[in-house]
């Protein structure tokens, strides 16, 4: 690939693009570190971390933990269930496998807004209108996509390696743990991250499922805080937003290399 410098007009256009994307963040940080923030853009009169302390204490702190439980729980459960099914699906001859895969593709397109009413009803009937219910519901919704993705990843693990391990006397469990898993680590990381971010961002399901402010995840908590009428505490909301956004952003940049390869795979195979 050649490395020609972009023309001047292009550079200017790209600078505007950057400005458009970055300016809300500048506003966000300026307000978050200003204990007397009022929502306007100004150089903070004083810099303090009071807003961040507020964003970690009381209900806000509990909501952070709720979000962690929901996102980590959903991601782990989804990956465990999907991996256990994707490996046989990739390796074995199952009658009607193609039909099954097409069914998964169709289900993957199913919007979650479409099944939210029965989800709510069955959660209500089984007493699962809580964090645990949210985890199960999100796992159900994530599963078709995750299953397809992991099946594709397992397809790329060469059978010859497993064969060699078998000839050397390894059991199925050893083959999976020591051959298949290490080779599909990138795939598992991508899938886990997708499920984690999806659950971390999820808004509609917890909005309907959670009953008390102490049971809200951060998405609903933030919405409830800025939806309230009256004086808006911009400093607190900005700090809370940063705390809420930070984990996904950090995890993304940690996994970036894995994600981009995985992402290309998703796009093409969709």
């Amino acid at each position: 690939m050649d490395t020609k410098p972009p023309s001047r007009a292009l550079t200017i256009a790209l600078c505007f693009v950057v400005l458009f994307w970055v300016s809300p963040f500048v506003w966000l940080f300026a307000n978050a570190v200003d204990p007397a923030a009022n929502g306007s853009l100004r150089v903070p009169t004083a810099i303090g971390f009071d807003n961040f302390i507020d964003a970690f204490s009381g209900n806000a702190g509990r909501q952070f933990l709720n979000s962690i439980y929901i996102a980590a729980g959903t991601a782990t459960l989804t990956v465990a269930v999907a991996a256990a099914a994707a490996y046989p699906l990739s390796r074995m001859i199952i009658p009607g496998k193609n039909a099954l895969l097409w069914l998964l593709v169709l289900l993957r397109m199913l919007p979650s807004t479409g099944v939210i009413v029965p989800l709510y009803f069955s959660a209500q009937a089984t007493g699962l209108l809580n964090i645990f219910g949210i985890i199960i519901a999100l796992t159900i919704l994530n599963l078709p996509f995750t299953l397809l993705l992991l099946k594709n990843f397992f397809d790329t693990v060469p059978l010859e390696l497993e064969e060699a391990a078998y000839v050397d006397g390894a059991s199925l469990w050893q083959i999976i743990r020591q051959v298949v898993m290490p080779l599909s680590r990138a795939g598992l990381a991508v899938v886990w991250f997708f499920a984690f971010t999806g659950a971390w961002n999820e808004f509609m399901l917890p909005l309907i499922f959670s009953r008390t402010e102490a049971g809200f995840p951060m998405s609903v908590g933030l919405y409830a805080a800025f939806g309230q009428n009256g004086a808006i505490d911009y400093g607190f909301l900005a700090a809370f937003s940063i705390v809420y956004a930070a984990p996904v952003v950090v995890v993304y940049f940690l996994l970036r290399r894995n994600l981009n390869t995985g992402f290309a795979g998703v796009g093409v195979k969709g």
Binding site: P24, A84, Y87, P144, W200
Partner: protein
């Protein structure tokens, strides 16, 4: 070779089947719920009160109501406008332009553009909603920078231009997905082909229109498929920014469904709206899949 059952798998058939069991149960549940939505849509089930227990079948009443009462058709129109301008025109075209502009460049500028566009995408919906509703409010950033310095009275953008602001916010939020997909797509176009066209005297416009776009048609269709489905059913960003208001100006289908089901409590009617959304998404998907399937 692959068709054959491997000995280490054959001797553990039951174990592997047991591994698939949880997934089968959960996928089954999802199918069951989908069936349930269809069944609900023919009832007058309600969230609370007498009809939450003592419901009855009402035939096609809910579907008739979709087209005779105000609300559904308006929401459908709002959804189409929102999807057309924010996803198909905004995210897709901007993503393609950015990918094209940055193709073959390296260095600081590219990284800065990529990271800043990605940040919008990574941000949780509700944070983006807070950012955009706060910055476009009467005392917000946009007024501070572009309106009051010129002596004009501050404009309450989020209220007066609600749909436009929501569309811009969604472009800001979602362009990264299209951008990444088009970067991958452009990488799949061999450089030799572009060079050959250049030698033959094709203008940049001709190169894009006649060579690059046809070569990445499947990527375009895939991208449109994903972002259309996501945008037609998008709830969080719009709901948190405007709640569907002012009035019903930004009441897209997902918000309409939510309001009817969980605010007004008409679960039967809400289910009929869900089914309508499934049908709309299905029809759009079929159109794109045809685009994918067509011979080159």
């Amino acid at each position: 070779m692959r068709r054959q059952i491997r000995p280490w798998l054959a001797s553990n058939g039951w174990l592997l089947a047991a591994g698939m069991l949880p997934a089968i149960v959960l996928i089954g549940a999802l199918l069951y719920f989908t069936g349930w939505v269809f069944a609900f849509s023919f009832t007058d089930l309600e969230l609370v009160g007498r009809k939450s227990i003592d419901w009855s079948w009402v035939g096609l009443d809910n579907y008739e109501r979709l087209f005779t009462r105000k609300g559904f058709l308006d929401s459908l129109w709002t959804t189409l406008i929102f999807t057309l301008f924010s996803a198909i025109i905004g995210q897709s075209v901007l993503g393609f332009l950015l990918a094209t502009a940055l193709r073959g460049t390296r260095g600081v500028l590219r990284n800065v553009v990529e990271v800043s566009v990605m940040l919008g995408w990574l941000l949780p919906d509700i944070v983006a909603a807070f950012l955009w509703s706060a910055t476009t409010s009467k005392t917000g950033l946009v007024n501070n920078l572009f309106v009051t310095p010129f002596g004009a009275a501050p404009v309450n953008f989020i209220n007066d231009l609600a749909l436009q602001i929501v569309i811009i916010a969604n472009i800001w939020k979602g362009t990264a997905w299209s951008y990444l997909l088009f970067v991958a797509a452009l990488d799949s176009v061999p450089k030799e082909v572009i060079e050959a066209a250049k030698v033959d005297g094709a203008s940049p416009w001709q190169r894009a229109w006649l060579i690059v776009l046809p070569m990445i048609r499947t990527h375009i269709a895939t991208n449109l498929l994903f972002i259309t489905i996501a945008t037609v059913t998008y709830f969080a960003l719009i709901y948190a920014m405007t709640g569907g208001g002012p009035g019903r100006q930004t009441q897209v289908l997902a918000i309409f469904m939510y309001e009817q089901s969980f605010k007004i409590g008409k679960l039967g009617y809400g289910s009929a709206i869900s089914v309508a959304m499934l049908v709309i998404v299905g029809v759009m998907s079929l159109a794109y899949i045809r685009m994918l399937r067509e011979p080159k």
